[in-house]
Symmetry: C2
């Protein structure tokens, strides 16, 4: 890889030891809203159905109300949609991410970025 130096800002909201909301969970909510089911969202994101289900389950246990509502009965292909709270949480989380993105245009970041090599030097023996 030959990438330019880059800053990554992550906003994670914790509930006990669980991550109630973070970049990956927000992307999954987007995909569920777009695809209409957990399984289709998992496929679109290249993750297993089980992994997606666990992420949804964690979110639903972390918030005052579930963020994702599934249609009772049926198979994995059954529909899922964002609850009203799910829509609102996703929207506010994206707004919070926009606030963070502003830090990327800060003077501090510009200085730091200029000092980082595109690739690290090879490791020396200890």
């Amino acid at each position: 890889m030959s990438e330019t130096p880059r800053l990554k800002l992550h906003a994670r909201l914790y509930c006990g030891d669980e991550i109630a909301m973070g970049p990956g969970k927000a992307d999954l909510l987007d995909a569920i809203g777009r695809e209409g089911s957990i399984s289709a969202a998992a496929r679109a994101m290249g993750m297993s159905y089980r992994r997606a289900w666990l992420l949804v389950d964690a979110m639903n246990r972390c918030w005052a109300e579930p963020l994702v509502e599934t249609v009772a009965g049926g198979s994995h292909e059954r529909g899922a949609r964002l609850s009203t709270l799910g829509e609102t949480v996703l929207q506010r989380y994206r707004a919070l991410q926009d606030l963070l993105a502003k830090a990327e245009s800060s003077e501090e970041y510009a200085f730091l970025k200029d000092g980082v090599r595109p690739e690290p030097l090879p490791s020396q023996s200890e």
Copy 2:
């Protein structure tokens, strides 16, 4: 644990696949500046000398010039200090972290925080 919901904002600066600067490396720089050697800094942070050395080595390979200068020869207890660039990078990174901290007083964060439970509900079987 019974913790209140909390937001964690991490700023990480990447150099290829290495983390050039992040919260842990910044704390290590602080400790080296305070303690005067890599081994004393490692002890103060409860990490092994080898782990601290690897973090310092990664930083020194990621930036235009080394951030930590060690006194040649001697044992692990030999002195280490921040270079001029090291001091400046640490200062700018702390300023960047202060920018991020402002997001914690945002309306978006206040809304999200109110919706998260102190602890997740128990996991349901699939």
